[in-house]
C-alpha cells in the first residue's frame, strides 16, 4: 500500500513536470512590458473643453463646431437654430505628445491658438502610472469691432490667455474621468470690479455605451466669476459617435462659445431654466505623415 502511494506521488510529480503546458512557459517567459493607456477619450474635446487626447503624430484634425441659439427661444427662432455660432480649427500632432491648434470663432470674431503637451501618461505593467497629465495653454484674440472708434482697445487689450492642467484617468475601457484646474487671464475687463484673473475647476467624464458610442458630461466651476455679466458655470451633456477617422459629438450646453476663455468665464445661460444650446463638433483626421513599418 505504501509502495502504491509512493508510485502515485512520484508519477503525479513526473506528469506535472512533463505536462507543463507550453503556454504556461510562454506566460512565464513573457517580458513585463509597460503599456500606455490609449483612447481615454474619443476626441480632443470632452465636449466644450479639451480632453487629454492629442492628435496622433502626423495627424491633422479639421474640427468644425457649431452652437445654435437657446432652445427656449421657441418655434419662432426654430428653437435656436436660426442663430448659429461656428468655429473652425486645425489641430496638428507635431509629436506623439505635442499638439498645436489654430481656430477661428464667429462669436466675437475671435482667433485662437493653443499648445497641448502630454506631460505624463497613464500606463499599466512595469512602472505603471495612474493618470495622464497634459498642459494646455491658449491665446485668444478678439477682433469684433463693437467699441467706440475713438476709444479703440489696444492689441494687448484684445487678448486673453488660458492655462489648464488636464488630469485624466481611464478607469476601465468604458469609463474615463478628467479634472481640469484652469486659470484664465483677461487683459481687458468691462468694469473695474471684473477680475483679470479667473480660477476655475473643470470636471468631465465619459461612459461608453458601445465600442463606438459614448455619453459625456462636462462641468466647469468658476471660483471668481465676472461681475459685469450674470456669469454661470458651464455645463454640457453630449454623445460621441466615432466612425473611422471621424468623431461626431452632439452637445447640449448652456454655453454658446467653444473656446476656453469664453465658455468658462462668459457663459450666462441657466441650463435648468431652459437656456440650452444645441450643438455639435465634427472632427476629421487626415494622416499626413505615415509611420514607417519595418520590413
Amino acid at each position: 500500500m505504501k509502495r502504491f502511494i509512493t508510485t502515485i506521488a512520484i508519477l503525479a510529480i513526473t506528469l506535472q513536470v512533463s505536462g507543463q503546458d507550453l503556454l504556461d512557459i510562454l506566460e512565464s517567459e513573457a517580458p513585463d512590458t509597460k503599456t500606455f493607456t490609449t483612447a481615454t477619450f474619443k476626441g480632443t474635446r470632452i465636449l466644450n473643453g479639451h480632453s487629454v487626447e492629442n492628435s496622433k503624430k502626423g495627424g491633422l484634425i479639421f474640427l468644425i463646431s457649431h452652437r445654435f441659439g437657446r432652445i427656449n427661444q421657441g418655434v419662432d427662432e426654430l428653437f435656436g437654430l436660426d442663430q448659429s455660432n461656428i468655429r473652425f480649427a486645425f489641430e496638428y500632432g507635431v509629436t506623439e505628445d505635442l499638439m498645436l491648434g489654430l481656430g477661428r470663432s464667429s462669436f466675437d470674431k475671435t482667433y485662437d491658438g493653443f499648445v497641448k503637451y502630454k506631460l505624463l501618461k497613464q500606463s499599466s505593467g512595469k512602472k505603471s502610472f495612474p493618470v495622464t497629465m497634459s498642459l494646455f495653454s491658449s491665446i485668444a484674440y478678439r477682433t469684433l469691432e463693437d467699441f467706440d472708434p475713438a476709444n479703440e482697445p489696444s492689441f494687448n487689450e484684445k487678448l486673453s490667455y488660458v492655462s489648464q492642467l488636464l488630469i485624466a484617468r481611464k478607469f476601465n475601457s468604458a469609463f474615463s474621468f478628467q479634472i481640469t484646474p484652469t486659470f484664465v487671464h483677461r487683459n481687458f475687463t468691462e468694469i473695474e470690479s471684473d477680475p483679470h484673473d479667473i480660477f476655475a475647476l473643470g470636471f468631465g467624464g465619459r461612459a461608453k455605451l458601445s465600442n463606438r458610442i459614448s455619453v459625456n458630461a462636462e462641468y466647469y466651476y468658476t471660483a471668481n466669476p465676472l461681475e459685469s455679466i450674470e456669469a454661470k458655470n458651464s455645463l454640457a451633456f453630449g454623445v460621441d459617435i466615432e466612425t473611422g477617422g471621424h468623431v461626431f459629438q452632439i452637445i447640449l450646453s448652456n454655453s454658446i462659445t467653444m473656446i476656453e476663455k469664453s465658455f468658462i468665464t462668459e457663459t450666462t445661460g441657466d441650463f435648468f431654466g431652459g437656456d440650452i444650446h444645441f450643438g455639435f463638433n465634427i472632427s476629421r483626421t487626415f494622416q499626413l505623415g505615415k509611420r514607417k513599418i519595418k520590413k
Binding site: R3, T6, T7, I10, L11, I13, T14, V17, S18, Q20, D21, L22, L23, I25, L26, E27, E29, A30, P31, T33, T35, T38, A39, K56, K57, G58, G59, N172, S173, N211, R212, E242, T243, G244, G245, T285, Q287, K290, R291, K292, I293, K294
Partner: protein, 180 residues
C-alpha cells in the same frame, strides 16, 4: 524493491531532459495584410512568443494585440479599441501540433500545422502549411494563412466596409532557439 525506486528516480530525469528539447523565441514576427478596393492595411508585431517541443512537435504561440504596429496611429488605436478589444482580449494564442515532426530531417521542408487559434476570445480550428527548418540549435517556422475576420466575431461597421478586407492574410516568421 531497490531497483523499483531507482527506476522511479530516473523517470524524473527523463522529464527533465524533455524540458531541454524545447525551443523558444520571444522576438518572432507576425503581420497581417488587408487588401480592399480603397486601401491596403498592414500591421506588424515583432514581439511574438513561440515555443516548440521537439520531442512531440507541439507548438504554442502567444502575442499581445497591442504590439501590432500600424502605419496610421489612429488606425492602431481603433484596432485595439473597436475591433479586437485588446483591454478585454489582450492576446492572440495558437496551440497546436506540427505533424510528423519526429520524422523530419535537417532540410528545409513543408509541414502541416494544425491547432486552435484564439483571437478576440473566439477559438477556431485551423490547419496550414508552413516551411520548417529543423537544425541542431535552431528551429525556424515560416508561413501564412487566411483569417476570416467574421469568424472571430470581429465586427466591421458598414461605413468602413470598403476599407477593410473580410479575409486578411496572416504571415508569420518564428526563429526558435533552445529553451534553457
Amino acid at each position: 524493491m531497490k531497483s523499483y525506486y531507482i527506476l522511479l528516480f530516473f523517470s524524473l530525469f527523463i522529464t527533465v531532459s524533455n524540458a531541454q528539447e524545447k525551443f523558444i523565441t520571444k522576438k518572432g514576427s507576425a503581420s497581417f495584410f488587408s487588401h480592399s478596393p480603397l486601401e491596403d492595411i498592414t500591421a506588424d508585431n515583432d514581439q511574438v512568443l513561440s515555443i516548440v517541443d521537439s520531442s512531440t512537435g507541439d507548438i504554442a504561440i502567444s502575442m499581445l494585440m497591442k504590439s501590432f504596429a500600424f502605419e496610421k496611429l489612429l488606425m492602431q488605436e481603433h484596432f485595439n479599441e473597436n475591433y479586437v478589444e485588446s483591454d478585454k482580449f489582450p492576446k492572440a494564442i495558437f496551440k497546436g501540433k506540427i505533424e510528423n515532426f519526429s520524422d523530419l530531417d535537417n532540410s528545409k521542408q513543408e509541414v502541416t500545422v494544425k491547432g486552435i487559434l484564439t483571437i478576440h476570445g473566439v477559438s477556431k480550428n485551423i490547419e496550414t502549411k508552413a516551411q520548417l527548418h529543423k537544425q541542431e540549435n535552431n528551429i525556424t517556422l515560416d508561413g501564412d494563412f487566411p483569417v476570416a475576420v467574421a469568424d472571430f466575431d470581429i465586427k466591421i461597421p458598414g461605413i468602413v466596409r470598403n476599407n477593410i478586407a473580410k479575409i486578411v492574410k496572416v504571415t508569420f516568421a518564428l526563429d526558435h532557439e533552445p529553451y534553457k
